[in-house]
Symmetry: C2
Subunit: 187 residues, 2 copies
Amino acid sequence: MSKATGTHGKAEKEFKAAIRRIPNFPKKGIIFRDITTLWKDGRLLRRSTDVLYEHYKNKRIDAVMGIEARGFVVGAPLAERLGVGFIPLRKLGKLPGEKISESYDLEYGTATLEMHRDAVVKGERILIVDDLIATGGTALAAAKLVEVLQGKVVGFAFVVELSFLPGREALKEYDVFSIVKYTSEED
Amino acid sequence: MSKATGTHGKAEKEFKAAIRRIPNFPKKGIIFRDITTLWKDGRLLRRSTDVLYEHYKNKRIDAVMGIEARGFVVGAPLAERLGVGFIPLRKLGKLPGEKISESYDLEYGTATLEMHRDAVVKGERILIVDDLIATGGTALAAAKLVEVLQGKVVGFAFVVELSFLPGREALKEYDVFSIVKYTSEED
């Protein structure tokens, strides 16, 4: 039974219609799912927060962590709605305070995420959010950082899931929630 | 008469207490105002949106534009609260669609901001937001992009203003609003 049922299924359909397909970005053969067209619609922007809020409102979230940069657009309104704090997870060299970092593999080379050492307190229940999950490498690196500080990763929330890629498999130890699923590049 | 009076003055005091000073970041002699400690506090995160919402709720905003990346954290919740869309203004090479760009000077060299060509429709009333205003160069580049597409810049909103730098002067043709003002590096 997919999670894309009921009210949420209706949202999925509406969201898919608002997300733009851009072929060959960032490189040939990739279809980029451009969520900016969804965000430009004030009703859908709010609705995406509604759907995530409904899913997480009773999960005792202490803070929402957003992955730079699109994850900030998803995470900050959700944190505010939940009445909790927002933690930015940033790319190398952006955070000013004492921090910890985690590198992860990209198709070519590696990337690094950083988090302030005092961003998560031991035992805090953290929800990690981003706009989209593909292979899950970035999300997994985010989880490791939370766990280094002995925070508890309550789950992952995404607006878009490319379910033909192994992101959910990479995050199989965690609860993963997404609003819109693409089952193939052509979907 | 400063704008930092009344309810807003109270918010300013509380916010200043929550913003962390980090000396010598990003380089020697600069005191970085680290707003992540404010965002981690769920009550203050919401309160910052409250203050901005109160200021802009009757200004007929059609969309909120946030400047990458911290401007997304300020702008997305505000857009949602106002019930309007959110437009991300991004650094070079991040946006997938057809776009326009504007370069601006940094202390050393230049930087470039990009916006989707269809992000703003002629006549739309746009509020531009970022976490902090220093010299105003980035903000001015953002305004130019909106105006290229014949949008109307209704104003600029910031959480933090370094009022000892000439940001307000650079934006003198626009309405500028900030919650917290630092009048010197030592403030």
